[in-house]
Symmetry: C2
Subunit: 99 residues, 2 copies
């Protein structure tokens, strides 16, 4: 569970499902998170072998993150978790008095 | 994801699958965690409607936690996550140089 524990990790994995992305692209996709938090979670996902980072030396130099094979095997699980979450959201809103 | 995000939440949910437990029983099951951390995660799970707390006034007074219906619907998902984790553990150990 620690591998996907972290507010943005599942979202990051989902975003990389359709192909590699630059850190700046990911920062723009998660405006509620600071770049520092996103970079920390990218580092942890990379450390755990879920994503890999490629550095392109051509000018301007840049890097891209993409899913590893192991990372791809998480996609169906994350989809199930999100389906559960979407189904539970109305009840949770009621419980938290957000409705 | 936030609902099960937290090092011990999935373990707590699993332990309650077989019936209600007192906080002290849960503290004994997770010796790697401080009672404060377990109590915090119990409070969050209760706030989110995943577990419920029952207080028994008889002497000595005590309380018990048990899964709500919503909590029970998480069990198959957690089982899938744990199966994925167990399958990935050897590769992760290699990646982290723990072998």
């Amino acid at each position: 569970m620690e591998i996907i524990s972290g507010k943005w990790k599942c979202c990051i994995i989902n975003r990389l499902a359709n192909g590699a992305k630059r850190p700046s692209e990911l920062h723009r996709e998660f405006l509620d998170a600071t770049p520092r938090v996103i970079n920390q979670q990218l580092k942890e996902l990379e450390l755990h072998g879920i994503i890999k980072k490629e550095i392109f030396k051509e000018l301007p130099p840049h890097s891209e993150y993409s899913l590893t094979e192991a990372g791809r095997t998480l996609l169906p699980l994350i989809a199930e978790l999100e389906k559960w979450g979407a189904g539970y959201r109305p009840a949770l809103k009621k419980i938290l008095g957000l409705e």
